[in-house]
Symmetry: C2
Subunit: 107 residues, 2 copies
């Protein structure tokens, strides 16, 4: 039995630190591949592969402009993760409340 194909999954997409770094770069604005490459020690094909993973997970979109391909963030899938995390928010909020209560009782 073959395992599921994870490549197109957004959780998988953001699991890699290089891909997160790419997103963080795009956060400051859309950019063509050459601009994205700057600051990475990896080869261009490596980055190209990462971009494909991000594309297939629909976390970024590619727009062809002349011979460049400009990448931009497409937020819907990231929002999906955020929604999933939302169910856990009460955990850290009650932690904070407990800490606050503790600190106050120690006065």
């Amino acid at each position: 039995m073959p395992r599921r194909k994870a490549s197109a999954d957004v959780y998988h997409a953001i699991a890699d630190p290089t891909r997160r770094a790419i997103l963080d770069k795009l956060r400051t604005g859309s950019a063509p591949v050459n601009a994205i490459l700057e600051g990475f020690s990896q080869s261009r094909p490596a980055i190209s592969k990462h971009l494909r993973v991000l594309r297939e997970a629909q976390v970024v979109v590619e727009k062809r402009v002349g011979r460049e391909r400009v990448y931009s963030i497409r937020p819907a899938k990231l929002q999906q993760i955020s929604s999933w995390l939302e169910s856990y928010r009460r955990f850290w909020e009650t932690s904070l409340k407990n800490l606050k209560g503790y600190l106050e009782s120690e006065g």
Copy 2:
């Protein structure tokens, strides 16, 4: 050059759907391994491995009670992901604003 060791990384920890399902189960309360196992078709050692990954990523804690090991959610690292996503929130919020504006102009 060896690749980084990803096992202890929280983004890697939540990348696997089985591990997310485990967390979703723990979201309704702490549970020993046998209870966690229910509903999964995988073997106990497989789940055991997933629990180890979650433990090493500090997304859960294990507490030994008799011969059981009770797992609970430990929210700090999930919150870390939430913070990272926070930087992207404006993307989907402006998307919504644009949609709203569009709908109103079409009004």
